[in-house]
Symmetry: C2
Subunit: 245 residues, 2 copies
């Protein structure tokens, strides 16, 4: 269906892939529906090549991976998206200038036939919840292409995490306060500040509160520390606090 082709083109371009090959699409080609659905990825649609058979579509390929929903009883390696991507990238790298690998997806409803699979070197299944594994084709394309993208040079550079920021998470064995306790603490602080005349300009109050909440999230207080904070505010303000309902 044109709509599925358009959505697949988007998923491909999301992951930096552009070489779309179509085998005898049901609704003919070119397809205005596919163009319309592809939105920003219309260049992928306009650059798509049409083939009468899978054999012709993969004729210039050296490594072809077929996506199948269910395991097949075939003597072919069964990969997951990560291992398929690393095999493709390795084989492409050895080939020099051009890509020589391909991912094959079957029609939305029926998937690939056993005949189709004879043209392929390996099978790929996406390891989802065994009790609910159905994806539409554009989602399958997205997941598989995303794993490829992550392993490319561009993808790797984008997924690099600033370690110092990651360390800020300070994942520890602390008995962290939950978000409700944190909100309670912030309400206490806000009320105390309000009563103390801290908010001289009321129009700035929302921004100040937002900054405060960000600061407190960053502190990642334990339950005990949150209680201590209540105590400190009460001591400083000199009054008991009763939460607004």
């Amino acid at each position: 269906m044109g709509e599925h082709i358009g959505l697949c083109a988007r998923a491909m371009l999301n992951c930096g892939l552009t070489d779309l090959r179509l085998v005898a699409p049901r609704d003919g080609w070119p397809s205005e529906v596919a163009r319309a659905t592809s939105s920003g990825a219309v260049a992928v649609i306009d650059g798509a090549r049409l083939y009468p058979s899978l054999a012709k579509a993969v004729a210039d390929r050296k490594f072809v991976v077929a996506t199948t929903a269910r395991g097949r009883d075939m003597a072919k390696p069964i990969l997951v998206p990560e291992t398929a991507a690393s095999a493709m990238i390795k084989i492409d790298g050895q080939s020099g200038a051009d890509s020589v690998s391909a991912l094959v997806f079957g029609p939305e409803r029926t998937g690939l036939t056993n005949e189709d699979l004879t043209f392929c070197d390996a099978l790929l299944t996406i390891p989802l919840n065994p009790d609910y594994a159905s994806l539409n084709i554009a989602q399958a394309v997205l997941l598989v292409c995303y794993e490829w993208h992550k392993q490319t040079a561009l993808g790797k550079s984008l997924t690099e995490i600033n370690p110092s920021l990651y360390d800020q998470l300070a994942i520890s064995d602390l008995d962290l306060a939950d978000k409700g306790e944190m909100e309670n603490l912030l309400l206490h602080l806000e009320d105390a500040l309000q009563e103390s005349g801290f908010f001289t300009a009321q129009d700035l109050k929302p921004t100040i509160l937002r900054n405060l909440r960000n600061m407190f999230q960053r502190m990642r207080l334990s339950r005990q520390e949150a209680r201590s904070f209540h105590g400190m505010i009460k001591a400083l303000h000199g009054r008991e606090w009763k939460r607004r309902s």
Copy 2:
């Protein structure tokens, strides 16, 4: 929109997640559209909990990750799906019995506000093609939840690859024949077998050819080896071969 909520429920269940919390959905709740769109994931919809604010939705959480499309100028760790998943799983594991983490996604069009982000410990961006990074919310949910699923015990068991099968790929420096050359070789073999009277039962021929093609894909012949095979067939059959057009 109900439709997006239904699609998000499906993406969650694909990855084994079921605890859906909704903050003031635009079209009200319950939503028949959401139920209809969720198809097999209707249990996630029916189990969804409704909250008037993000603060209330995350009140019992201790680690909250907010998904944002664009980088924000905030002093919060910026994660990618993989690192967000590992942080969540680690913190959940430390908490004992229950999950204490949450992923937050904003409305389809507008995303999360800076106010929303104040309730969160970390930001998550999906590192897509910088020139075309737009995803709809259900696709974003799918990619992020899939990374989480892969790191769970179930996901890990499903993504384990049989190493011996993977090794069969024998990714090497061979100058592999492309699929067109392989098909040419198979046609030569088929014609020679046909002329030799090999196919005694013509109704079995398609199955035999399919098995042959699978066998030859598995051999992963180099260009040179494919040429040698042509020579062998010609020698055995005693005739030159001319490809059918």
